[in-house]
Subunit: 328 residues, 2 copies
Amino acid sequence: MSERRYDPTHGEWVTVATGRQDRIYKPAAAACPLCPTRAAHEPTEIPRGHFEIAVFDNRFPSLSPRPPEPAIPGTDLVPVEPAYGHCEVVVFTDDHDATLADVGVARVHLLVEAWARRVADLGADPGVRYVLPFENKGEAVGVTLHHPHGQIYAYPDVPPRPAREIAAARAHHDRTGRCVFCDVVAAEAGGVREVLAGEHFVAGVPPWARFPYEVDIWSRAHVPSLPELAPEARADLARVLARVLAGYDRYFDVRTSYLLGIHAATTDGADRDVTHLHVEICPPHRGGGKLKYLAGSETFGGAFLTDVAPEVAAERLRAACADATAPA
Amino acid sequence: MSERRYDPTHGEWVTVATGRQDRIYKPAAAACPLCPTRAAHEPTEIPRGHFEIAVFDNRFPSLSPRPPEPAIPGTDLVPVEPAYGHCEVVVFTDDHDATLADVGVARVHLLVEAWARRVADLGADPGVRYVLPFENKGEAVGVTLHHPHGQIYAYPDVPPRPAREIAAARAHHDRTGRCVFCDVVAAEAGGVREVLAGEHFVAGVPPWARFPYEVDIWSRAHVPSLPELAPEARADLARVLARVLAGYDRYFDVRTSYLLGIHAATTDGADRDVTHLHVEICPPHRGGGKLKYLAGSETFGGAFLTDVAPEVAAERLRAACADATAPA
């Protein structure tokens, strides 16, 4: 079963994909499906003996270009649709034991290029309206495969959170005539919550951070999406991202778990005056080895609580990023 | 620091409460602050040698009736407000080793009465617009105190998720002239996703379940909030809730972790034609000892994926609830 069901009590679609339940769960390193194929009789997902970045269709997709017919009939109250879309896996390196924080700026740059190309390609599908590249890293956020990798989801609609972001940006634009993210960059760049300043991107803990050590990376210029990013800006994003991730590892003194997502424009060309490329990175850590959980207030209220002042988190991460040896 | 900061990029408030970082973290049972006071020189939070239900102000609140002045100045872009509100702790029993699933129907009934009274009292504060009773249970959802307890938050506004729920219900009402939850009850009661049928409440896995074994408990009648619930309906809610929780423990064969929240009307009397009392219970389990994590699609997309068909989850939980020994 793989289908989208509409929740009329919240006005959102939920995807039920039972095939995902069988996905590979924490395999031994020797059985890693994301490692290069070393013996012809034991192929992994990647039929090469060596690679830099590999992108392929997720074998356990929740959204697919040829989704099955829904298992239950839709109703006027609860419409049901085939789960159309794309789910891709992006492997960052053939080194099973590396992480994105230590593969080096050149490889992160190649990843930015790969993301941009996949966003453009998937966005060209008229059945797709939003493309979300993301990485779930570490057991603390539930990762089931340790080989360094991310994912790209191409949704048939604008999913709820980007939709709210666009609505908020539209409201701000209606009120002020400006892009809200351009205003955020103007307010935050060079300020107490800045973590790292690149030429084209600035990283900072947003004043409203939902996770204690959340870092957002904002394009300084009003660029709606990755494919429109100039070559020198792509290189700068790679430098800033690599350094922020290295800074996390230095500050927490572990290979830091996090969720990373890229928010950008819809793929149908709408709302480009208010959509502004940015990366959000949310580690679940709140310090001292303790984790931040999303509990009652976040789950049922949607009301986030954090325990660390964003100004303090920024000061700590700024120092850690400055100290971190820049990966080559 | 305890203050609310507005996120203009999503149109939501986030609360920064740094005092919470010092909250008591997994104390030994002998140092439990929620146990009865057994020796005068070692008082716990509860100055009694025995109690049934205890309710008191959270010592590490994120919202409080006398919040400090904000530490940073607000701006037109990012308004900042004192974190006004109330955070209460509700202790379900003086037995440190019990859980809400095994305290018995009589105690759950007393809890429903306590919730109703606190919702009425807190809602009478003109500075409060929404009261959310919830329980975070188990280490899997990050609980730091094991003594069985829940919490009540009284917010100065309608928090984001209830606000979206009310907006969706309003849209449904505008389109159909009916309450969306009344329609859900009509569609789900007695159907394949029903888990347990009480006289006044019905429990079921919603067709759009966000967690694989989510169970919602809906009032059959259009009742906006707990204080308006008739005495016999309160007793029925207690019976249904106690049995669902016992069914979880039977099905998963462990003391099941979950998040539980109660959605109801705002406290200012608005939208009562579309607000309809219901309980949501979300265990993080997806079967076989594996947990459901909220990862990239949920966090950055707001797009939930689940691995278990709601019809299958309902069948399993229906059987488990039928088999579970009803707590006395």
